[in-house]
Point group: C2
Amino acid sequence: MSTRNTKQKEIIFTTLCELRTHPTILELYEAVHKKESSIGQATVYRNVSKLVEEGKILKVLTKDGVDHYDGDCTQHSHFMCKVCHRLIDLYDINTDSLVKQVRKDYSLDIFGVHVLFEGICKKCK
Amino acid sequence: MSTRNTKQKEIIFTTLCELRTHPTILELYEAVHKKESSIGQATVYRNVSKLVEEGKILKVLTKDGVDHYDGDCTQHSHFMCKVCHRLIDLYDINTDSLVKQVRKDYSLDIFGVHVLFEGICKKCK
DNA sequence: AATATTATTGATAATTATTATCATTAAGGA
DNA sequence: TCCTTAATGATAATAATTATCAATAATATT
């Protein structure tokens, strides 16, 4: 026996997938807590870490000092507004040429790329 | 009078520029402390924040849960080894086409791009 | 289906990271 | 040189994360 599928893990995962707001741990905990008030913070921390390790969810790298999470693991990039700090999904941004270039120029084994664009969103402009 | 140029700020900045290891705050503090043992942690925290705001140093986004800092603000990307967690600088990785694409497809104002490649470095392979 | 094993949980303590406070110091304009 | 006040150093306060541990529940075995 190694890992078990618990109700809590399932709820945490589906809640993150439903939210399309790239929540922080705390925001995710609050959403989870609304569904199942018995689930504690520690359980959210634990399962989010596991899910990231398993590659089922994504940790989004931002400069606002807090980690955000994303239930959408399909290849896409992010944009963060410097004013409202909202994260926006960017699809169809092709990073293959970059990866190819790094592989060629630096001969490194690459598994993933994370691209974060920074700027000002339409609403804040 | 608004901001002052203090010895401490100068030492923190030059120490980071000398280090090419992308240190964390704590690692930077230790290096700074060796030079000037009077400089406290709070001062390092304060000045690193200021320097990032001023655009004189860079916060490097990684997935290892700790923030790293870089004194080299010229355009370059980073590679993080999943095994040893070492950050490697990647120069001449052209991101212009990506930025152009996002501007076109999403009509967003973009100021900066951060690219992090993940994989296994030569030593760990 | 009942039982045994043990991974996971919830609650909370402990730890770590970051920020705020405040008297003192020193940068830089007058 | 004096004055003003931003910045410092020390430390307290707060916030974020991880560890602990008895109780629970998932699942392999019988």
